[in-house]
């Protein structure tokens, strides 16, 4: 099993590497197109700002590369948002696997709801291959100020200010708004599920 973690200018790529190590999976952090194309699994992680990250991906031709991948791909947090059509963060056109716009949380109707949405929250998901029943009942770690609305690709929802997509799935593309690599044993199970899809 060859697992590649996409290396780009967003933080936390190494957190994913460490998390995979803890579940006994060796992965390579790389931006080499040949390696990424030949990998059995590709993880597209990230913590960062959408326009900066997207600019980097474009400059290095990685946006087109990601689009062309046919093996299971997992986008995490900003990785998930960049797989969407457009992000309000920096008014950024994104990769467009998921035909949904990423919006900024608006707490004007509920000013006591803090932004970013930061911390451990519950989700609602029909048990599936990525998110099994036990994981769906657990807490997951979120940290984000932008969200993908619930759409046809939504496989898990979370409710904070408004219901939003906690996870998306379309064809070989999977994505989570939460950080499985930072979500304790529940997150490690979800990563394992992705590896064994």
């Amino acid at each position: 099993m060859k697992v590649a973690i996409l290396k780009y200018n967003a933080g936390n790529v190494f957190s994913v590497l460490h998390a995979l190590k803890r579940i006994g999976v060796d992965a390579a952090v790389t931006d080499d197109p040949t390696y990424l194309r030949s990998a059995d699994r590709v993880i597209f992680p990230g913590v960062g700002e959408a326009s900066t990250a997207m600019g980097y991906l474009r400059e290095h031709g990685l946006d087109e590369l990601i689009k062309s991948l046919t093996q299971p791909v997992l986008g995490i947090c900003i990785g998930m948002q960049l797989l969407c059509r457009h992000s309000e963060e920096g008014n950024t056109p994104c990769i467009g696997i998921f035909d949904v716009p990423v919006r900024r949380f608006d707490n004007s109707a509920a000013p006591d709801m803090k932004i970013p949405h930061m911390g451990w929250n519950t989700i609602e998901a029909a048990p599936g291959k990525l998110i099994d029943a036990r994981s769906a009942a657990g807490y997951l770690y979120f940290v984000h100020s932008f969200y993908a609305p619930v759409c046809e690709h939504t496989i898990a929802t979370c409710n904070y200010i408004t219901p939003f997509s906690a996870a998306l799935h379309k064809d070989n593309f999977y994505a989570t708004q939460f950080h499985p690599e930072k979500s304790g044993s529940v997150g490690e199970t979800i990563l394992k599920n992705f590896i064994t899809l």
Partner: protein, 251 residues
């Protein structure tokens, strides 16, 4: 529902966890990596590692320890102490830290917050504020509570938020180490003035104090050190207690 967070803080000096009484006398509380992993396994929601003497002694940050923590814990952790540039932040994130906290360097040069937020996103930047209440006025202090700045806690927290901080970590120097509870009135006031998450710090001596920080102080998270290091409060029992008191926690 979003859970309130319990955050053990590991103050680190020369690779060892320490906790001072009012930041001066230190008691050894063990190896930071082993301790961090233990807290993670016990149900801590996040960890903070502060190199508490870094800015005073002009020491750099502790990349190797950060890397070992990242390898061993599966929950988010923040690293602070001596961070004064985007370059410092990049190295820490690359070593596996999720967030960084800035304190003295940001007070000296507030643009640091803007720079971190722009490069790495708001959520990476935790603005730590040490404050004393003097004649009823909360004032910010530099270098682990050693140097007064004359700046108001509330005004600085709001400015930090506007500049792009993702969270405020407020330590009451008056309460820190005294174990009589958090500065709940100041927390409540601060929470009402900002729209980013607020972490309560300083003064925790018993599980009731956590409840007060959430119920009275409206904090989003509560941080403590010695009560955890010396087993005076155990995290699983604390969470059960909070749960039964109606506070949403991750069980």
């Amino acid at each position: 529902m979003l859970a309130r967070r319990i955050i053990p803080c590991l103050d680190v000096k020369d690779g060892t966890t320490v906790k001072g009484v009012n930041f001066v006398n230190f008691k050894n509380a063990g190896d930071p990596v082993a301790l961090g992993k233990r807290y993670c396994d016990e149900g801590a929601d996040e960890l903070v590692f502060l190199d508490i003497t870094a800015s005073h002694e002009k020491r750099g940050t502790f990349i190797d320890m950060v890397r070992r923590v990242a390898e061993n814990v599966s929950i988010p952790f923040t690293v602070g102490g001596g961070i004064s540039s985007v370059h410092d932040v990049g190295r820490l994130l690359e070593a596996g830290a999720d967030k960084v906290s800035v304190n003295s360097a940001a007070l000296r040069r507030p643009e640091l917050i803007d720079e971190i937020a722009r490069h790495f996103g708001n959520q990476v930047c935790v603005l730590a504020i040490d404050a004393h209440c003097i004649n009823g006025k909360w004032t910010c202090y530099l270098n682990g509570g050693r140097i007064p700045t004359g700046r108001s806690l509330f005004e600085w927290a709001r400015e930090g938020q506007e500049r792009g901080a993702g969270e405020i970590l407020f330590t009451s120097m008056d309460h820190d180490g005294v174990k009589q509870g958090f500065a709940c009135d100041a927390l409540c006031e601060l929470s009402s003035q900002i729209h980013i998450p607020l972490i309560a710090s300083g003064g925790c001596g018993a599980r009731e104090h956590f409840l007060d920080a959430f119920a009275l102080g409206h904090a989003d998270a509560a941080l403590a050190a010695s009560v955890f290091h010396f087993n005076e409060v155990e995290i699983p029992a604390l969470k059960q207690y909070l749960h039964h008191a109606g506070i949403p926690v991750r069980l």
